[in-house]
Assembly symmetry: C2
Homo-oligomer: 251 residues x 2
């Protein structure tokens, strides 16, 4: 918590370009948050990022009822180069799917792909809600980008379109997969993680997955993990061993 | 999901000894759960564990309004030898502290120690609630034991009483600590993890912690993690690298 802008009360994701003196529109949710939650006023400072231009120190220009604007002053952090990391996950119950989006964002996932498996018993996925959760997690945890959230697709579809040069780590709870730490030693650095639904993959799905040349089954220890725990755990181990946890925080 | 007793609807933690033909009392919450939630009846099967005698297949004997009983039939899994792993954590908001207890249980923590730090702004911790959350997580994720939950204590107190032969991994977000994967290479196997509150440790606390001979500061990557995410992540990496994820599931 020793970052330069720790006195900045608000940190917002915007879609406008950021450059010195650029005036950036704020939407009604952002205006409400700045004015009614944080009690900020025109002239107060905030931080802005859009996923491309780094993080910018900015000043609130106007705060209307429905809209407002801020003016970018100077870049406080450059845009970091992020390693591309996908999470494919079977949708689960509402609170836990939100948690997956939140924690995956904190753990550096760049693309979230909801995949419908045989035993997925969640009929509808609100990708808007997942996007809002991911954006909020990025805003609150100093990330300078927000992961992309795909529309849900069938697992078979996602696998058919899967790039051959990306390694897909299949979190396999059958107890037969090699431990994740040893499996990761042999993988290239372009990665994706696949997590099944609460009831696990169907046996046919699991057989099919294991036969795909880009799939590496990995084990996550002797206890059964909930789907959300399996997702965070695999991502944390991956970042610690072959991801971007190998150096100091780039500031 | 291929375990022997996957057709067993209920898995309960009990405090009575388990042995062939032992009659085990069920409390009012358990009776309510079996009867009203799962719609089970006397004669139906369930699994029981107490943290000492392994997991037992049992049959419901009686289901009254306030109490009931089950009879242990045969041991379905021996009691595994667990590695002792502590989590010291500063209490945080209610939903997130529950999440810490739940995920720590899934990730094999054997003792949960709430510690009050300078910037901890949660006045009261319901250890009963943490215990219930941990018990439920163990019941639902096939663990055969439940972590101990200590009463809250001041951080200074916990450190003064800390055993000299246990290594305490301090999750240090200052960006200066070595990455957790490299730090773990040099630690003994008796471990504890320490997570600060949402606002981080106070500078004086951090200085004091770094001077203790049993403390190893570890870094968790370039992004700021929420306290709960830091806890899960450190525990997952620890289990994957030096913990019990190195082998197949013992069944």
């Amino acid at each position: 918590m020793e970052q330069e802008n720790s006195h900045i009360a608000a940190r917002l994701f915007v879609s406008a370009p950021l450059a010195a003196n650029a005036v950036v529109p704020l939407d009604s949710d952002q205006v409400h948050y700045l004015r009614s939650v944080l009690r900020l006023e025109p002239g107060d400072q905030l931080a802005l990022f859009n996923g491309f231009d780094g993080e910018w120190l900015a000043t609130i220009e106007t705060l209307g009822k429905r809209a407002g604007a801020a003016r970018a002053v100077r870049q406080s952090r450059p845009q970091p180069v992020e390693r591309d990391l996908w999470l494919l996950f079977a949708p689960i119950k509402r609170a836990r799917i939100d948690l997956i989006a939140e924690k995956a964002t904190e753990l550096g996932v760049t693309r979230l792909v909801p995949v419908m498996t045989e035993r997925t018993n969640v009929a509808r996925v609100s990708t808007d809600r997942l996007r809002a959760t991911a954006r909020e997690a990025a805003e609150q945890t100093e990330r300078v980008s927000v992961p992309v959230v795909d529309e849900p697709q069938r697992l078979g579809q996602a696998l058919a379109a899967f790039p051959a040069d990306r390694r897909l780590l299949l979190c396999d709870e059958s107890g037969t997969a090699p431990p994740i730490a040893s499996a990761l030693g042999q993988t290239p650095s372009v990665l994706a993680v696949l997590i099944g639904p609460e009831g696990g993959f169907a046996p046919g799905e699991l057989d099919g997955l294991r036969k795909l040349p880009f799939v590496t089954p990995v084990g996550l220890g002797p206890r059964i993990l909930r789907a959300d725990t399996a997702a965070f755990s695999a991502l944390a181990v991956l970042q610690a061993l072959v991801g971007d946890w190998d150096g100091d925080r780039p500031r």
